[in-house]
């Protein structure tokens, strides 16, 4: 049911949003093509979806008795295509609703006409009946715009979506058959010989005996668990065996695709109940097999926090958000009175440090606050185990710190934690570390044991702790994990950071190169009266590698958006190669300034990698041979060239590769300047390194690189120049080493709102500003 509800919600919304195609004729919106497509894919769900979608659109200001007819009309619009497809007698193609033949096309047009007409008649008649708008004004308008959108826009959407939705198992038939399977009880589990067919609702007595039996067992036990996703050839988990004791905190690390998320999803039964595939082995949590009960019955024992916090919040204020899990307590004995709920909500909000914000909208919170709220929504059920799937990914340093301290509090309070993690500094605070490789445990032990062998960590595709790396060449048995330990160790062994800074390459950019970007006294406001940028002055030379850093909301992305014409300055002007961005169009600017966005999925739309990459080039209107040449060159530049990859579906690639497809699609237009917004978010150590090397190479080839990032260690290692932003202003700008010197000063660091990476902080004790592991390693000597 949750899935059905979510599908409703998914369809409802795109329907009413969308920009009018022809100004002044607001009803002609591209979104009106969607109910037809949705109807053919999702059946009656689409009917409810488009009806509700219309109603919701009305709830943003145009709620009236006419909304009833709006609902009915759009219900027809979303229902008729599903009803009529294949039932038109001689007109029917007798095939699936795709548009691969002319007969299917004819059937499609007839259906579009019928559905559009029905919708227009119902609404036109109803609104006229109420005496709001005359029939002959509204009806032709609705008919016309529905028909235009359905016939012009729906076919490409349908062609694209049909095979994918089919693959994801989200079509109406698929969902219905899986629901039927669920309704039939544990039929599915019975097919699996490894899982005993337990009744879904364990009687209390059964539960007690099982729990009792479980005390001898570890709290969480995986015994040769294997899982292969449906449609995949390689297993994601491959004979995984590991245990977690009650009250322990375990960090799970490993490359992208090593099985970290899969393990998290298996812990509360999402695998195999929700995610199709083949599971074998035995996984028990708190004495219950995860396959023995449906997911929703496990909410009380396992709390799962997903990486993407946006998709997990469902309410309009914090109080209701936390009430939601309490409103769905499954066993009858547990139900709480509203007063008890209020008490528990208050207690949980205090625990995660959000008390006093009960009436706030979750979307108005900062990233760190939102992630803590998500954790609160799982904690409120008081689960015995809390599993977190890379919870730090989308957070800025501030958010990370606040989340890390919450996790420390939970650990101290005796919660059992399993956290999938990329960042070695976060993982180092766990009791135990478990490294996955190819779906099985490759290494297990105390974090210290792994991180004091930097080579081993890197062999598993992990980031090593930079400080440990610096000490690695000195033949010490115990390597430091934190800056404080490093200092202590230096004192014990008589080590100093010698005055090596002078000998380090300045990596400064030779001045005197022509300016390629000039930002002149620019202010920018999204809304009147609240400046996002004020009086910004910045000149970037041709061929520089500049990093823009600062906390979330400091104006980094806004500044970058001004450089490629996404925004136009409210005051002042931006010159790109001497020309005002106001005079150049966005299209013309795109060929000079390329912008690679943080999330590649916000731009990927084509069926193959090659088509995706050629999109930008084709917009330039170049001859086809030139297009092909550029696409091939761009794919080679990001390391995705060759015979195979260009013809793959970009959606099926791992995140790091999708990110590189996005880079290639921008590169193909051959822009002189490249802007990267958080290019390494969510990438593992290997992918991060590959991405950064690529940026470095592009810079060497003459591109000007502007990188927005939170990862200061990457800034230290690669950027020539560093621009620090705070509250819409540039508060520091200069060669990276100079800016880091300012940041290393405790007083100034507070003013900038940023802290230098650990190795820089370590060396700063001796008055040296060093940027990379190699620099510190070389400068670290015995007295």
């Amino acid at each position: 049911m949750a899935q059905i509800a979510a599908v409703y919600a998914a369809i409802l919304i795109p329907f009413k949003m969308g920009i009018p195609l022809v100004p002044g004729y607001a009803e002609l919106r591209p979104a009106n093509a969607f109910p037809i497509v949705a109807s053919l894919l999702f059946g009656p769900v689409a009917a409810w979806g488009s009806g509700f979608g219309n109603l919701i659109g009305d709830c943003f200001g145009t709620l009236s008795p006419g909304s009833v007819f709006g609902f009915l009309g759009n219900f027809c619009y979303g229902y008729l295509p599903y009803l009529l497809w294949g039932r038109l007698g001689p007109l029917s193609s007798g095939r699936e609703p795709e548009l691969r033949s002319w007969r299917q096309a004819v059937e499609f047009v007839v259906i579009c006409f019928a559905a559009s007409l029905a919708c227009a008649l119902v609404i036109g008649f109803g609104v006229d009946l109420l005496g709001l708008i005359p029939f002959w004004i509204l009806t032709p308008a609705i008919l016309f715009n529905n028909l235009v959108m359905a016939i012009l826009l729906a076919p490409p959407l349908l062609l694209f979506l049909h095979p994918r939705v089919k693959r994801w198992g989200l079509r109406y038939e698929d969902i219905r058959s899986s629901m039927r399977q669920e309704a039939r009880g544990e039929g599915r589990e019975d097919e699996d010989p490894l899982t005993p067919g337990l009744a879904p609702l364990a009687t209390p007595r059964q539960a007690i005996t099982r729990q009792h039996a479980g005390t001898a067992e570890p709290f969480l036990a995986a015994r040769s668990v294997s899982f292969t996703y449906a449609g995949s050839a390689n297993p994601a988990l491959n004979g995984l065996t590991f245990t977690v004791n009650r009250g322990e905190s375990v960090a799970v690390m490993g490359r992208s695709g090593a099985g970290k998320s899969t393990l998290c999803y298996a812990l509360n039964g999402l695998i195999p109940h929700h995610i199709a595939g083949h599971l074998s082995g035995k996984l028990t949590v708190d004495g219950h097999e995860t396959t023995s009960r449906p997911v929703w019955q496990q909410a009380g024992s396992v709390g799962l926090v997903f990486q993407d916090f946006e998709a997990q919040l469902v309410s309009t204020n914090l109080e209701m958000e936390l009430a939601f899990p309490l409103e769905h307590l499954s066993s009858l004995g547990d139900q709480l009175t509203p007063a008890e709920m209020r008490e528990r909500i208050h207690r949980t909000l205090t625990l995660v440090g959000l008390s006093g914000l009960e009436r706030r909208d979750p979307l108005s919170l900062s990233g760190g606050q939102r992630q803590r709220l998500v954790i609160a929504t799982t904690l409120i059920r008081e689960p015995a185990l809390l599993a977190l799937d890379e919870p730090m990914t989308d957070l800025d340093p501030h958010g990370r710190r606040s989340l890390a301290s919450l996790l420390a509090t939970l650990k101290a309070a005796g919660h059992t934690l399993v956290t999938a993690e990329h960042d070695p500094e976060e993982a180092a605070s766990a009791d135990r570390l478990c490294v996955l490789e190819h779906g099985r445990v490759a290494w297990e032990g105390a974090p210290r044991a792994l991180f004091s062998q930097p080579d081993l960590a890197e062999q598993f595709g992990l980031h090593s702790l930079p400080l440990a790396r610096c000490f690695a060449g000195l033949g010490l048995t115990d390597l430091p994990l934190t800056v404080e330990e490093g200092w202590q160790l230096a004192v014990e062994h008589g080590l100093v950071v010698s005055a090596a800074e002078a000998g380090q390459p300045a990596r400064e950019f030779p001045s005197g190169r022509p300016a390629i970007i000039e930002v002149q006294r620019v202010s920018f406001e999204y809304q009147r009266g609240t400046p996002a940028l004020s009086d910004v002055e910045l000149t970037i030379g041709d061929g520089e590698f500049v990093a823009i850093i600062g906390q979330n909301g400091s104006g980094k992305s806004t500044l970058a958006g001004l450089l490629n014409g996404l925004h136009m300055p409210t005051r002042g002007r931006v010159l790109v190669r001497g020309q005002d961005t106001k005079k150049l169009g966005a299209g013309q600017l795109a060929t000079t300034v390329g912008y690679v966005f943080q999330n590649p999925d916000h731009q990927i739309f084509a069926e193959t990698v090659e088509k995706e990459v050629s999109f930008g080039v084709q917009n330039l209107g170049l001859p086809p041979e030139e297009c092909e040449k550029r696409v091939a060159a761009a794919l080679d530049a990001v390391g995705l060239g060759g015979q195979e990859v260009p013809h793959q579906d970009p959606f099926s690639l791992p995140k790091g590769d999708r990110q590189r497809v996005a880079v290639a699609s921008v590169l193909a237009t051959r822009p002189r300047i490249l802007i990267f917004d958080e290019p390494t978010t969510g990438l593992d150590a290997t992918e991060t390194q590959r991405m950064m090397r690529m940026l470095h190479r592009l810079n060497q080839e003459g591109h000007t690189i502007i990188m927005i990032t939170h990862a200061l260690s990457l800034v230290a290692a690669y950027a020539q120049r560093c621009v620090v932003m705070r509250e819409g202003q540039i508060v520091a700008d200069g060669p990276t080493r100079t800016v880091f010197r300012t940041m290393a000063d405790p007083e100034q660091s507070a003013a900038l709102g940023l802290e230098v990476p650990p190795i820089t902080r370590f060396a700063a004790r001796w008055g040296q500003i060093l940027l990379t592991v190699e620099e510190v390693g070389a400068a670290l000597r015995r007295k």
Binding site: S64, F597, N599
Partner: protein, 263 residues
């Protein structure tokens, strides 16, 4: 609160009313708006609703919606006189005669449309989505639909922001949305809509998993946190509404409050 939603958090007497009271009163006001076609009657009703809006501290929302309200008003005045006629000549152009009744009727229809929208804005400004859907459920809407409705509401802002990011990403790759024939314009929306839909479907799968992980299951009966209770102000408000609607029907049946027009 959120810039997309009309709801304005507050503690006025209208915020404190039971959402069912507010919803039923909304239906009453809709009925009144549909009963009359005399601009004077509709004008009085509009004044009352405006006063209520002011007392709920929701005038800011009127400013937000003012363009739409004015446009619809002007549109009705301009359109309706061509669809109805009366007896008294206002202007005559050859064989065509614009009648006073038709002008009055157009004016009234403009008021009616605005009055109806004002009532809706007032309700949405003082009622959270959770309260609104809960009221609908208590009044008979099946629970899964109510839940889907509130979920969908919730998603509008995050989808609009994703859509914004998608437009930016494609514009940066040289997608030019302005100009061209209708056909080329429509085709240009493919690179915008495909990522939006695949993003939405991905989020949907995640949401479904997250919901079920929080205990939302097919057999779980929702045990409400929000308590709906009809208190004295609710009964008083409902009594006033019933009286006003009753009076209006009586006045209307007695033949007042309409402009005599022929369609």
């Amino acid at each position: 609160m959120n810039q997309f939603f009309l709801y304005l958090d507050g503690r006025t007497w209208l915020h404190r009313l039971d959402p069912r009271t507010k919803f039923l009163s909304l239906l009453g006001l809709f009925l009144i708006a549909l009963l009359f076609s005399d601009p004077r009657y509709l004008g009085i009703a509009t004044m009352v609703v405006l006063a209520l809006t002011a007392s709920a501290g929701a005038l800011a929302n009127l400013r937000k919606m003012s363009l739409l309200l004015v446009l619809l008003f002007v549109y009705c005045i301009a359109i309706w006189p061509f669809f109805v006629t009366g007896r008294t000549a206002f202007v005559s152009l050859g064989t065509y005669m614009l009648t006073t009744e038709a002008v009055e009727y157009g004016f009234a229809m403009g008021l009616r449309l605005d009055l109806i929208l004002l009532c809706g804005i007032l309700l949405l400004s003082t009622t959270t989505i959770e309260e609104f859907t809960l009221a609908l459920q208590r009044l008979g809407l099946p629970a899964p639909m109510g839940f889907a409705l509130s979920l969908a509401f919730r998603w509008v802002p995050s989808l609009i922001s994703s859509a914004g990011r998608i437009v930016q990403a494609q514009r940066s790759r040289g997608l030019d949305l302005a100009g061209g024939s209708l056909f080329t314009r429509v085709r240009r929306y493919v690179p915008l809509i495909v990522p939006l839909i695949s993003h939405t479907l991905r989020q949907t799968r995640l949401l479904a998993m997250a919901l079920e992980s929080k205990g939302f299951g097919p057999e779980v009966r929702r045990h409400g946190y929000l308590e709906l209770r009809l208190r004295f102000p609710d009964y008083a408000a409902l009594a006033v509404m019933v009286t006003v609607v009753g009076l209006s029907v009586w006045v209307r049946v007695a033949g007042h409050g309409v402009v005599e027009v022929v369609f």
